[in-house]
Symmetry: C2
Subunit: 341 residues, 2 copies
């Protein structure tokens, strides 16, 4: 069945849209009481990710409650290292933690290249969600970009600097490339599986892009993102390299449809650097949603005008913060949906 | 007495230098066994900051051991909120923590505007260090930029997003400006005191510049940095706004001598944005110092060539990480000191 609302897909492909489409990173999550209810039934975040029925339920919630133009499958970028052989725990208020990390050539040799079958619970969640959405809006699938996944596999947890992961790049460049290639192969298998299961669009999150120098980013991050872009030809793909202001020109040359911007990136400057062949996604400061309604509306309209009427998918410049008032999110979404150029 | 080595001051003022001068952010610190010895004698980091004899001793250590072209007074940016009425603790492996934070207009009204006398221990440490340095190299004083200090005063600790501090900007803009002005007045008093005590140069650290949108940065951060720049006319001043790639053009218009760059900022692009009237400081990735000696030398020379022979003060793009090998730091310093264009 054709999608009833395919605005985001058309915007990604550079086709004409009647209005700017909108979704929000982390739209399924703690800001919704309905999410917190499902979450409370489960043991924790990971159990939710691994249980297709519930992952499906929370994925669809924001479509109903917030009125966004796309659903994004409820999952985690760290399912890939786990499928490759490094299980992780999600520790409340602390973040992810890996018992085993990568230190040696042998550690890398022992990792398997993940297949879609290894992540069957994500595939099942996508199939269930596609069915549950009933073609109302597109379903976005996603994965972490190889550098970000690599950073967690070396560091074993979050970090302000990811200095141990960077140390590995500086001291073990050959092993680094081996590991990044294994992650890339796994990610391509995973994303292809998501497409087969029904994902209408994909996004790569390079959450820790900003800790690398431009030179290292090109050598160890962009190269593998580029391989993924070349491999994914079936559906539109967005690359979101947070804080990677320094490679916007390079991002414009990727074989993908759209580029995510964070809120520190000037819109006109980014358009100039990235060029006119890409759709831009973003880029409101998530903290704007703490402001009053008038302020939210005003800044949202200003953002829409800066991006212009075509080749823009409205979003935040980062994931929603968990303490944001749901009604403020609805105000942001409604302002975008009501605005006409 | 005139300084025996005034390379950094001349570079800051745009005067001709025979070679590029170098110092490192956090050069006094855990990478030096000599520092760790002094530190072990004290109760902790704060006691060291507050005891002029020992602050002086660790300030001079890197001049002797690393051979850098300047000393920077061993202190902390958070002495200002404390002098204004918000005491803090430095919790091992966690960072700073404030018992009381700013929430209301009354909280702001109760803050005092700090004077140099309130920070007599820093003044004493500067005087002792000036005497101990015996005019070998300049002594750099410093303070946090108002936005960064504000962020800690609201948030009460470090944060990945500083979302509560940003929320305050969005929801309480008038109170925010009041607080920022009080911090600015305190900072000017403090820096003037540092000059009177003997500081030859000053630096403002805006460590959390990167979490703000360009618009908020201009309204709530740059405005107050500019007031400080205008007030400090006696000695050269460097502004280092980490991650504030988006306001490099604006930084070029400040009434200061030099601008710090982090390692994500392309050197040629930064020079173009900032213009030719400023000295640039930086910007090696601190993680390069994990690499082998050949790699360190090669990348350091590449950096020197990118900046060119004049109007550059070599440094890292952030503070030294505590687990870096001292000999690698010496290699970085020596490479710079030996290089001739």
């Amino acid at each position: 069945m054709p999608l009833k609302n395919d605005l985001i897909l058309r915007a990604a492909r550079g086709e004409k849209v009647e209005r700017t489409p909108v979704w929000l990173m982390r739209q399924a999550g703690r800001i919704l009481p309905e999410y917190r209810k499902v979450r409370a039934k489960m043991g924790g975040f990971k159990e939710l990710v691994e249980t297709p029925e519930f992952a499906c339920e929370v994925t669809i919630q924001p479509v109903d409650i917030l009125g966004v133009d796309a659903a994004i499958i409820f999952s985690d970028i760290l399912v890939i290292p786990e499928a490759m052989g490094l299980p992780y725990q999600m520790i409340e208020a602390k973040g992810p933690w890996f018992e085993k990390t990568i230190k040696t050539a042998n550690d890398i040799a022992q990792l398997k290249i993940a297949t879609a079958d290894d992540l069957h619970y994500v595939m099942d969640a996508i199939k269930l969600t596609k069915s549950g959405l009933n073609d109302r809006v597109p379903l976005i699938g996603f994965a972490g970009a190889p550098w970000t996944i690599f950073a967690y596999m070396i560091e074993g947890s979050g970090s302000k600097t990811f200095s141990q992961a960077k140390k590995f790049l500086y001291t073990q460049p050959i092993l680094s490339h081996q590991l990044l290639q294994k992650i890339t192969d796994s990610t391509i298998n995973y994303l292809k599986g998501q497409i087969s299961s029904g994902a209408d669009m994909l996004q790569l999150f390079d959450s820790w892009a900003g800790v690398l120098s431009p030179e290292q980013y090109r050598e160890f991050a962009l190269k593998y993102i580029s391989k993924i872009c070349d491999a994914i030809t079936e559906v539109p793909l967005t690359v979101f390299a947070k804080d990677a202001h320094f490679v916007r020109k390079d991002l414009g040359e990727l074989n993908c449809n759209s580029i995510g911007l964070d809120w520190t990136m000037d819109i006109a400057e980014s358009r100039e650097l990235i060029g006119n062949t890409k759709t831009l996604q973003g880029n409101m400061d998530p903290c704007l949603l703490y402001a009053d309604y008038t302020h939210i509306k005003q800044d949202t309209i200003k953002m829409l005008k800066s991006f212009g009427p075509q080749r823009h998918i409205a979003n935040l410049g980062h994931g929603l913060y968990p303490d944001i008032d749901k009604d403020k999110v609805i105000c942001f979404v409604e302002t975008i949906k009501e605005f006409r150029f």
